[in-house]
Structure formats: structure tokens, C-alpha cells
């Protein structure tokens, strides 16, 4: 968003080579009969902005809490900066947490909240006060120290929670759905601020979220979790462009699926026959072979990876024709559901595909029932076989 892409890329390149900060090896966690974590293997690198993404009940919060030391694990090892955390209590771990409810102490002032963790610090009172002021300034709450903490707004409470955790200079900052209580505008603003803050302090951030957009915006790498297991671990672009399973593809954004007949391997990939699209060669890097469901092979593509070609417009890539089934106008975008010619040739089932078009000035929104040309390129297709 507002962070320049180059700095993000540079940051990712730096952290990709960094030493491991958190290492999880074969972590198992049961609550009675409920198997919350089923063998988590994970390495989070120093300085990384890492996200655990998944639907509620997938174990992401449990994993975060085991790293923080709030939950015991039945088996497995957690190393933080090379040190085994077995038997190390939460108050002795080099991690601090921002809670979903923020957990601001309501009976203390803002400054007392932020300085809470410094109680055992041997520094003088004046030095501690200066540290508190500095931490408040870092989160944009300079001069708020004397305020009663219960009078703060949601965004301000979150900043206090951040300052309170960061003042201890932890090796890892754990964030448990920190933005879920904020309204949309505030959330987007805080996403950007969190990224800036993370780059500024250079601390490893581990974020838990169920919001895929939030994860994509903020993270260097994302682990998508389902049912206590990591389904895919990748950077945001790879995760979005090349999900390795239909489940991940469906969880992150919208993806069109069409059934595919695998014709055979080629030197550069796999050749398939897709109803409506014809014969396509899928590049090898877009081929995923570990799809767990039994629906048979399919190709997937994002709604914005295909486009409608208006009359008289130049055509790029391959073109297929179809009929517009549905038009949904969103202001900046228009969504079209298009039934491709021949898409029902497999089994008689028509499968409209969704196409997202940016509403550029001068381009008319097309009508339901009209015939349309759809352009696409084989490189944007992903094969689940």
C-alpha cells in the first residue's frame, strides 16, 4: 500500500537470509479429545513479519500461545533464538504479546500501563519515565501518559498495548488478531503503521489473523493453517498466485475452477484439456500435485487474471468467447460472471467463471446476456492434479 515496494522487497531479501528466530519442531497439542495442533514444523526468521492465517478453530491462536508460553505442548520442541523453551515460563521468555482485547489495565494510567513491564528494571525512575515517553512517541501517543487508560479509543488502546510490549525490547512480538476490534478505516491505517513500526524496531513480528487481506498486506511470509496443520507456507505473492491446494486458493481471495483432463507432461510443464479454454500447457511452477480433495484435476485462475475484451480493443494472450450471465457493479470494479462456450462439454454442467474488471474511464460496463470475448494467458493458470 503506502510502503514502497522496493523497501518491502529489500526487507524480504534481508530476512530471507537471516538466522532462524523461532523454530517449531513437531508440535502436538491436545485439549482432551480435541487435537488442536497436529505436528507443526515451522521456522520463523529474525526480523520477519510472519503471519499465521486460517479460519477460526484452525489452531493459529493456540500455536501463538504455545510460543508465548501460555499453553503447554504434549510433544515437540520450540526454540526461540536457538534456546529451548521447554520449562521456560511465559514471564521469562523473550516474547511479548499484544492481546486481541489489548488487555490494557483499566486501573492504571497510560504511562503506568506502558511502564508496567519495567517494574523489575534496575534503571532510575527518571530513566524509566523517559523510556515510557519514548515508547509512547514511537506509537504516536506522545503526551498521553497521564490519561486514564479506560478513556482511550480502540485505536489508542492498541497503540498502548504495542508500546507496553515493545518497551521491553523483546526478540519476538506476538500479535493475536490485533486489528479485529477496529473499524475498517482504522484497520487499514493500523496495518500500514504496524509495517512501518516493524521495519523501524527490527523485531520479529508474528501475527495471527483470519483476515487474508490483512495477512497479504502486512506479511513477509504467511503460514496458512487448517485443522491444526500448516497447509502452505509462502510469501504473499506466491500464496496468491500459486496456491498449492484448492482449499488454500478458496481461503485466500476468489478463484475460478474448471475441470481439467491431464493429457501428459511436456518439457516445460503439463498439457491439459479444459472445457471452454481448450488445450493449455501449464508451466511447471504452477502445477500442484498435493490437492487433498477427490474432485479430480482442475485448473484455477483469479478473476483479475482474465479480462473482457471490448469491441475494437487489442487482444493479448488467448481469447475465448462466452455469454455474460451476471454483472455486479462495485464502483471501482465490475464483476462479470461469464459462461464460456463449450464449458459444459465435459459433463453438461455449465460453470460460469468470475471476471474482475477495473472500471477505467471510458470503458462501458457490459450488459447481461451479451456475448463477450475473454482474454487470458496460460501463465496465469494453476493446475491442481
Amino acid at each position: 500500500m503506502t510502503t514502497p515496494a522496493s523497501s518491502t522487497a529489500a526487507h524480504r531479501a534481508r530476512t530471507a537470509a537471516a538466522r532462524p528466530m523461532i523454530e517449531c519442531r513437531g508440535i502436538q497439542k491436545h485439549y482432551g479429545d480435541y487435537h488442536a495442533l497436529r505436528g507443526i514444523d515451522l521456522t520463523i526468521r529474525a526480523g520477519e513479519f510472519f503471519s499465521l492465517l486460517g479460519p477460526s478453530g484452525c489452531g493459529k491462536t493456540t500455536l501463538l500461545r504455545t510460543i508465548a508460553g501460555f499453553e503447554d505442548i504434549q510433544s515437540g520442541v520450540i526454540l526461540i533464538d536457538g534456546q529451548d523453551m521447554d520449562g521456560v515460563q511465559a514471564n521469562a521468555r523473550p516474547t511479548n504479546m499484544v492481546f486481541q482485547s489489548y488487555a490494557i489495565f483499566p486501573h492504571l494510567t497510560v504511562a503506568e500501563n506502558v511502564g508496567f513491564g519495567l517494574r523489575r528494571d534496575p534503571r532510575s525512575k527518571a530513566e524509566k519515565a523517559a523510556a515510557v515517553e519514548e515508547a509512547l512517541e514511537m506509537v504516536g501517543l506522545k503526551g498521553y501518559g497521564k490519561r486514564a487508560s479506560h478513556a482511550l479509543s480502540g485505536g489508542q488502546r492498541q497503540r498502548v498495548a504495542l508500546a507496553r510490549a515493545l518497551i521491553l525490547k523483546p526478540k519476538v512480538l506476538l500479535l493475536d488478531e490485533p486489528l479485529s476490534a477496529l473499524d475498517r478505516k482504522m484497520r487499514e491505517q493500523m496495518q500500514v503503521e504496524l509495517i512501518k513500526l516493524q521495519r523501524q524496531v527490527g523485531i520479529t513480528f508474528v501475527l495471527v489473523t483470519h483476515d487474508q487481506e490483512e495477512a497479504l498486506v502486512m506479511s513477509d511470509r504467511i503460514a496458512v493453517m487448517f485443522e491444526g496443520q500448516i497447509a502452505q507456507l509462502d510469501g504473499p505473492e506466491a500464496l496468491y498466485a500459486r496456491p498449492t491446494s484448492r482449499r488454500v486458493a478458496n481461503f485466500i481471495g476468489v478463484m475460478n475452477f474448471l475441470p481439467a483432463h491431464v493429457l501428459g507432461d511436456t518439457p516445460d510443464g503439463v498439457e491439459v484439456e479444459v472445457p471452454g479454454l481448450g488445450r493449455v500447457e501449464i508451466p511447471a511452477k504452477n502445477v500442484s500435485s498435493k490437492d487433498p480433495d477427490d474432485e479430480g484435476p482442475s485448473v484455477g485462475f483469479r478473476p483479475e487474471a482474465v479480462s473482457l475484451v471490448g469491441a475494437g480493443q487489442p487482444v493479448q494472450g488467448r481469447v475465448t468467447e462466452g455469454v455474460i450471465d451476471e454483472v455486479v457493479y462495485y464502483g471501482d470494479m465490475t464483476y462479470y460472471d461469464v459462461r464460456l462456450d463449450g464449458s459444459a462439454s465435459f459433463d453438461g454442467k455449465a460453470r460460469p467463471i468470475r471476471i474482475a474488471m477495473r472500471n477505467v474511464f471510458g470503458r462501458e460496463v457490459q450488459d447481461v446476456g451479451t456475448r463477450a470475448k475473454v482474454s487470458w494467458s496460460p501463465g496465469s493458470l494453476v493446475l491442481f492434479r
Partner: protein
């Protein structure tokens, strides 16, 4: 008038509740020795007599000692029970909490007699201490209920946050939980104090030769001469209760204002 019948009912109801209490101060300041209208004249001699009465002072001292000790014990035990029941899961939690609540529904006379039998068979001498034990037992359910509400309203992550910031389990409790449940603790202390102060049956059975205020008042009712003094005592107790309740409410509201929580009920 709308709701006229209900209004009359409410007024009669309040009159029925409070008129007898209003009679206390009237007769306490009446110079006649018989509790009956018409009133004779104004006097404060009954109050002077009350202050000068050694055995009444002794009973008052006993009652205060018992009430203070019993309310502190019941509240401390209530803190443990409330904390355990709201924060942890353990086997037989339901039955254990039920057992704590049992004195609430057991007839007090049964509780008293059982305690008496046990204490006598153990060879314990009956005195103030035995009354304190009995009162702690009957105050426990009230303390536990009040404190459970206080503990329940706390966000569990507050404690985890303190722990995460380097505090031990005990210091996290002291620095975060205790200040936040303080209004509940004060409520529990006052509730237990009030219950203990006017408790009669247990005090009657377990006090041995030591009178408490209620047992003393009961023993004096046989002597008509003493009744105006009892009226004066009653007046003092009513005034004290109102002052105590006001103080409690003041602290409760201040606690709520300090944490910015929403005011849900209370005494006044």
C-alpha cells in the same frame, strides 16, 4: 391516574416494610417508659443509659469482634473459592461449589445444633471464637457469590498480560487482579459484617457465656424497664447501617469510575 392501584400497593408495601423501623427513633427519644402512644416528651436519657450499660457495651464489643473476624475470614476464603471456580477446571467442581453454597439453604437452627454437637464432642470451649467459626460458615456463600461475580467480570488476558510482561503469578494477581476486584472484596466484607452482626441463632447456641448484641437484646426483652434503651440501641444500629451502606456505595462507584466500567446495579 394511570397505575393508581399499583401506586397505592407500592406505598402500602413500603409503609409495611419501613414504618416499624421509623418507630424505633420515635420511642428512643420518648421520655415515657412504656412503648405506646401518646408520646410523653423528648429525652436523651435512654441513650445515656445505653452508653452507661456495661453488659451492653460488652455485647457490642463481642459482636464487633465477631463480625470483623468473620467477615475477614469469609472474604479470604471466598476469594480462594471464587478464583478457583472462575479460573480453573477441576474434578467435582460442581459438587464442591454446591457444598460451599449449602449453608444458604440449610435451616440455621440445624447448622447451629450440628456445630454445637461437634464442638462439644471435640471438647472445644464455647466462646467468641466458636461464634466466629459459625459465622464464617454462613457468610461464605454470600462472599463467594459476590466475589465470583467480581472475578468473572475480569478479562482473563489482563492476568496473562501482566504475566507476559515479566510478573510472577502472585505479583500479577497482586498488581492487576486484586485492585480490579477490590470493589467486590469491600462488598463482600460489608455483606458478611452485616450478616454476622445481626445473626442470632448461631450466636445463641455457640457463644457460651459471651453475649452478642442480638442475644443480649433478646435477654433484655423480658424486662420492660430496659425496652426504651433497646430502642435507643436499635436507632444507633439503623443509623450505623445507613452510614456503612453509603460508604460502601461510595467506594463501589469510585472503583467503577476509576476503571471506566459501566455501572450495573449496586446497593443504592
Amino acid at each position: 391516574m394511570k397505575g393508581g392501584g399499583l401506586r397505592a400497593y407500592a406505598i402500602l408495601y413500603l409503609l409495611f416494610l419501613y414504618a416499624p423501623i421509623l418507630l424505633l427513633p420515635i420511642f428512643a427519644f420518648n421520655s415515657g417508659t412504656v412503648i405506646a402512644f401518646p408520646l410523653k416528651g423528648f429525652t436523651t436519657q435512654w441513650f445515656a443509659q445505653m452508653v452507661g450499660n456495661d453488659s451492653m457495651r460488652r455485647a457490642l464489643g463481642n459482636s464487633l469482634t465477631i463480625a470483623v473476624c468473620a467477615s475477614i475470614f469469609a472474604t479470604c476464603l471466598g476469594i480462594f473459592a471464587a478464583r478457583a471456580s472462575t479460573r480453573f477446571e477441576f474434578p467435582a467442581k460442581g459438587p464442591i461449589m454446591g457444598l460451599i453454597m449449602l449453608p444458604l439453604v440449610l435451616p440455621e437452627i440445624i447448622v447451629s445444633i450440628s456445630l454445637l454437637v461437634v464442638l462439644l464432642s471435640l471438647g472445644v470451649k464455647l466462646n467468641i471464637l466458636t461464634v466466629i467459626l459459625g459465622h464464617t460458615l454462613i457468610c461464605m456463600p454470600y462472599a463467594t457469590v459476590i466475589l465470583s461475580t467480581a472475578f468473572n467480570s475480569l478479562d482473563r488476558s489482563l492476568e496473562e498480560a501482566a504475566y507476559d510482561l515479566g510478573e510472577t503469578k502472585w505479583s500479577a494477581f497482586r498488581l492487576v487482579i486484586l485492585p480490579l476486584v477490590m470493589p467486590g472484596i469491600i462488598s463482600s466484607l460489608l455483606m458478611s459484617f452485616t450478616i454476622s452482626l445481626d445473626e442470632f441463632i448461631i450466636a445463641f447456641f455457640l457463644a457460651g457465656n459471651e453475649p452478642t448484641l442480638p442475644t443480649y437484646i433478646f435477654s433484655q426483652l423480658r424486662f420492660p424497664k430496659q425496652i426504651p434503651t433497646i430502642m435507643a440501641l436499635g436507632t444507633v444500629l439503623v443509623v450505623m447501617s445507613i452510614i456503612l451502606l453509603t460508604i460502601a456505595e461510595y467506594f463501589r462507584r469510585r472503583g467503577i469510575a476509576k476503571t471506566g466500567a459501566k455501572d450495573t446495579g449496586g446497593f443504592l
